[in-house]
Symmetry: C2
Subunit: 209 residues, 2 copies
């Protein structure tokens, strides 16, 4: 009897889904990527997803340990099991950066992009998300004066997570030229064997169904 | 030679600091609580805090494993070491809820309260935080139809984290009477031996210095 592959539900516009699939690819974890069309209302999305998803949101990851939502929780699950990409002695430091992402850049930039690209939002709200994004980039830029990646000399899920939405910076009307050390870090990440841009890795054509 | 106690830097208005100290108290971890006055600019705060804090923010926790920021990262560190309050077999589920808190109620309600109590913010931004807080409470309220606490029959750091800012709901002009199942959960938490309200637990008089 063959063991079923782990399943990832995701969507091409979801930087949070991308973080998980990029980690699975870099760890070499065989999995099924299942595409969720987010246009229909939550209750009308593909039934296997509606049944599995605790929040009606992507990503959702299913393996022999169970069903898990929240991209950064899935990343911690994967690196705790594997020990690589920040899951070993760095686990506390990894966890700290994943919560920084959840509170900061993964919030500010993701919401700024969403407001500009997909939603009609009050200009004051857009301006607030922009101020926060800029402050978060100022903070992040300081890290790369001292080391090439957030945890040291090699990439980890801390980088994958904090960089996730930055590959959509142009859609948020953010010019990364203002933060050259951040741009350099993204270039290093993009040169990692196995790395791919979100629209390449998350395309519906990449999915099994 | 005596081993130095772990140190927690915090402040009475910081629900994130409160989450950590409440967990330390419930786990029975002896520690030094050091009070940080947040009125002065970051560079002029107490020098031991400025030296220790990677982000200039509270909470910061220091023990034999090192220095850690981000309240939920500290909670995961504590329960991984201890095994209780969500650190055992529930660790993935705990982690999922802590990221839900970071993305949702710990963001929406904390920012709504901050805007109303401490900052001058555009009314459109306040309205956005209020809409998000209400949606997050709608979501949270569904949990307690099925179980008394987020992970089952006993409290965990998932509850401590998600409830943290809810004890300031009045300051955010949120009437919890609209979400009676949330109110019932907060009452159960408040009846836990060792539980204390943020202003009681985090008062400067509770600190060693």
């Amino acid at each position: 009897m063959s063991v079923p592959l782990p399943i990832l539900y995701g969507n091409r516009e979801s930087g949070h889904s991308y973080k998980v699939r990029q980690t699975l690819v870099l760890l070499g974890v065989a999995h099924e990527y299942r595409y969720v069309d987010l246009q229909p209302p939550r209750a009308e999305r593909r039934p296997d997803f509606v049944a599995a998803s605790p929040y009606g949101e992507v990503p959702v990851f299913i393996d022999e340990d169970g069903t898990l939502a929240q991209s950064n929780a899935i990343l911690l699950h994967l690196v705790r099991r594997d020990g690589r990409l920040g899951g070993g002695a760095d686990l506390d430091r990894t966890t700290q950066w994943l919560f920084w992402e959840a509170n900061r850049i993964g919030f500010s930039l993701a919401n700024l992009r969403f407001a500009l690209r997909f939603a009609a939002e009050d200009p004051a709200v857009v301006a607030m998300f922009r101020r926060r994004t800029e402050a978060d980039l100022d903070r992040l830029a300081q890290e790369f004066d001292r080391r090439p990646y957030l945890l040291g000399n090699t990439p980890s899920v801390a980088d994958i997570s904090c960089a996730g939405y930055l590959f959509f910076a142009d859609q948020a009307e953010i010019d990364l030229g203002r933060w050259p050390s951040v741009g350099g870090w993204l270039d290093r990440l993009a040169a990692t064997p196995g790395w791919a841009h979100p629209y390449e890795l998350m395309d519906a054509k990449q999915a099994v169904s």
